[in-house]
């Protein structure tokens, strides 16, 4: 019975934290955000170097063969840094092939995804909150796909797109294929830009096993982890601000009302760490609990993150409401985590049904 991290896992997180602190401090984050650049390719290359691109790809295909928990721990640290990165889509695309690919498909794609030669992403929702595989409309006729996908993260830099089909199957589409059209969306979270994807009779390869729900569950866990890391960072930033900002002749952190708000923010987020840990662990080890755990973790953590983001803005006063403040970058990340793959109420209703309520 060990509900804790291994030394390797702690080392992975520390390595990533140091990397982000050095290569993507708030000043650099700011530049990427303001330029609406989406990410810095050098950052992605560094993640690839660290093995992050192939973390959950089996060793036989050149990956590290680790589990969703390890991936979630990476997501947590990227959240702390509001790190602009195609990590999220790439991880889910890779997992889709790990879970659903035939041997040949794995052979063909996983080594290149692990090495970073191919960058992946996923195309699930089609607008109007159609995130659940049962709601997809994308049509397949004669091995060709026609239809629209709404919010594809980092699609502009992805080589390979895992597309959800009507009926819940998944298919692989190359961005360079004929009939693929991308259109930028004016997305609120500039650390994970979104694209509208239109397919017009595009050649595609259907994955052998329909793993859409599993990939969605993994995505929910990664968003929950991102939310935890991000919200924790916001609390830390708010505490630091309260220790330095002077008002009425003392630092504001000396006012009991401010103290109590910070204590409440801490109490809202800190105990919820285990929620994404457990959901990630369940994904690989407790099949009966995996789907429900992912739904609850996403619903709870992204709600708490959104509220924490509001509280953090208030804790920073007027400055927190400006574009210049770093807080707003995380605030917008909270909006992404909350809405992507579906807002909390839908997941809570699903969790209720899965419990037999």
């Amino acid at each position: 019975m060990d509900f804790g991290l291994s030394e390797e896992q702690e080392l992975l997180q520390e390595t990533l934290r140091s990397f982000i602190a050095r290569d993507c401090p708030p000043t650099r984050l700011r530049e990427i955000f303001d330029a609406d650049a989406g990410h810095d390719p050098a950052h992605w290359n560094a993640l690839v170097e660290m093995g992050v691109a192939g973390l959950v790809i089996p060793e036989a295909y050149g990956g590290a063969g680790l589990e969703l928990l390890d991936l979630a721990l990476v997501a947590e640290v990227l959240g702390e840094g509001a790190f602009p990165s195609p990590f999220f889509g790439h991880s889910l695309a890779s997992l889709a092939i790990v879970l659903g690919g035939s041997d040949a498909q794995k052979e063909s794609w996983l080594p290149r995804l692990a090495s970073g030669d191919v960058l992946g992403t996923i195309a699930f929702g089609e607008g109007d909150e159609s995130w659940d595989p049962s709601a997809w409309q994308m049509r397949r006729v004669d091995e060709k796909l026609t239809g629209m996908k709404g919010y594809v993260p980092h699609a502009n830099v992805a080589d390979l797109i895992v597309v959800g089909l009507a009926g819940g199957e998944l298919a692989l589409v190359e961005r360079s294929a004929e009939g693929v059209k991308l259109e930028a969306i004016d997305a609120v979270d500039r650390t994970r830009p979104l694209y509208k994807l239109s397919l017009d009779a595009v050649v595609a390869e259907v994955l052998a096993v329909a793993a859409a729900s599993r990939v969605r569950d993994a995505g929910l866990v990664l968003l929950a982890a991102d939310a935890f890391g991000s919200a924790s960072k916001l609390v830390e930033m708010s505490v630091e601000y309260a220790k330095t900002r002077q008002q009425f002749g003392q630092v504001i952190g000396q006012f009991q009302a401010v103290k109590h708000q910070l204590a409440d923010m801490t109490t809202a987020i800190e105990p919820a760490r285990g929620l994404f840990w457990h959901a990630a662990y369940a994904f690989d080890h407790l099949p009966d609990e995996a789907e429900r755990g992912a739904a609850l973790a996403k619903a709870h953590l992204t709600d708490v993150f959104m509220q924490t983001a509001r509280d953090a803005v208030e804790a920073h006063g007027g400055i927190g409401f400006t574009w210049e403040s770093d807080v707003q970058i995380w605030f917008k990340r909270a909006m992404f985590d909350r809405a992507f793959l579906g807002t909390p109420p839908g997941h809570r209703e699903r969790a209720a049904t899965l419990a037999g309520w």
Binding site: G127, D128, E129, F255, V313, M335, R338
Partner: protein, 402 residues
């Protein structure tokens, strides 16, 4: 209690409607003018008829009528219905003018009030600074008297409309050795003066509705001070009070709530209109309890004011009530708009029936925070309620620092 207006007031309303029907929109030659010109002509008629600038003496261009909150409300209602230009909007008419009327020198009233209430002179407000948000007493912008002029150096933030203003009313530290509130004066500064730099201040929504203003050796005449040297704090207090009332409007809560209901009616959830979801219905009805409370509390304050009294502590609660409601409304709205929460306030969600409306709610979600912060944060409001309203003692720290 009687929620109808009495006959006297209904007659007043009828008279006003006739006036509006005759004068707005302008007919004949007036219809050829630009909107700005039309508005100026109409407003002068309205002042002459006693519908606008009622609190301003005639000698300063006003219509000088006895205060009557019910008439004021009728005027507001009917002008809105007719879409006629009423009182000049903006901080000059709403904040500076009452302050000048109360505390200004005669020449200041004569020079500044008439063009301001006609909309020809536009003002901005220089209170907040980067280092002093809620705590105005700690402001740092200095004004030094050199000969016949104040020489101003410093930095103001959250200045709405500084890029379009003709003048600023501004709090500056004039007696550096005085402590806290003691050394502050209330100065009037021409925004075209050399040494002023205005930069837009962008909010998280992406738009810049505020400015920062930098002063480097900016000069304004010695007599451009309202009240005495070092008494700027007292001069500004009445003005701040006006601002708090303005923000706390119950009517905007009601309007936003109605839009929320429409959003719930037009949004689908699990294949049905969201408004059919029992959880949404509960939440809407719960919010409506707060909204109606706020609206009726406004009626009550209005009635008390019309009888020359006050509704006591109720008027101190408007701002907090309003921002609490704003928070709840915007939270439910964000839930309802679903995917639109992924888009920027200016971005359209994919496949949305009502895209503008939905990105509008994203803007509203962000602004509900801005409103909670503006005009003093919620914590400052709670302090005011507890200390001035409930008579609780001040904290020791606060006692010592003053």
């Amino acid at each position: 209690m009687d929620l109808k207006y009495s006959e006297e007031y209904e007659a007043y309303r009828a008279e006003l409607r006739a006036f509006l029907a005759a004068n707005w929109p302008p007919k004949g030659a007036g219809a050829e003018l630009s909107f700005r010109e039309q508005a100026a002509v109409f407003r002068q008629h309205a002042i002459d008829a006693g519908y606008v600038a009622r609190g301003i003496p005639k000698q300063y261009g006003g219509s000088e009528r006895a205060a009557d909150v019910l008439k004021a409300r009728i005027i507001a209602e009917e002008f809105r219905r007719a879409k006629a230009p009423g009182e000049v909007r903006g901080i000059g008419a709403s904040m500076l003018v009452p302050t000048l009327i109360e505390k200004g020198a005669e020449w200041q009233k004569e020079r500044f009030v008439p063009p301001t209430i006609r909309g020809e002179m536009v003002w901005c407000q220089g209170y907040s600074e980067p280092g002093s948000g809620s705590d105005l007493a700690s402001l740092q912008t200095r004004a030094e008297l050199v000969g016949d002029e104040w020489v101003i150096n410093g930095h103001k933030v959250w200045t709405s409309g500084a890029d379009q203003a003709d003048f600023m009313f501004c709090l500056c530290r004039t007696e550096p050795e005085a402590k806290k509130h003691g050394g502050i004066s209330y100065l009037l500064i021409d925004m075209k003066s050399p040494g002023i730099e205005v930069r837009p201040l962008r909010q998280m929504t992406g738009t810049a509705d505020f400015c920062e203003v930098f002063f480097s050796d900016v000069r304004t005449p010695k007599d451009h001070i309202v009240g005495k040297r070092g008494e700027g704090w007292i001069v500004s207090r009445s003005t701040l009070k006006h601002e708090r009332d303005m923000i706390g409007s119950a009517e905007s809560s009601l309007l936003t709530f109605r839009n929320l209901v429409r959003l719930a009616q037009s949004t689908q959830r699990g294949g049905r209109p969201a408004i059919e979801d029992p959880a949404i219905r509960q939440e809407l009805a719960e919010i409506e309890g707060y909204v109606r409370s706020h609206v009726y509390s406004g009626y009550r304050q209005l009635t008390a004011a019309s009888k020359g009294g006050s509704a006591g502590i109720a008027s101190m609660l408007n701002k907090l009530t309003s921002s609490n409601i704003g928070h709840r409304i915007s939270r439910l709205a964000l839930e309802l708009v679903g995917d639109a929460g992924l888009c920027s306030p200016n971005g359209d969600p994919i496949m949305s029936v009502n895209p503008r409306g939905e990105s509008g709610w994203v803007t509203q979600y962000m602004w509900s925070l801005g409103i909670a912060i503006a005009g003093g944060t919620a914590n400052i409001q709670r302090n005011i309620i507890a200390e001035r309203g409930l008579g609780l003692p001040r904290e020791r720290a606060a006692q010592e620092s003053r």
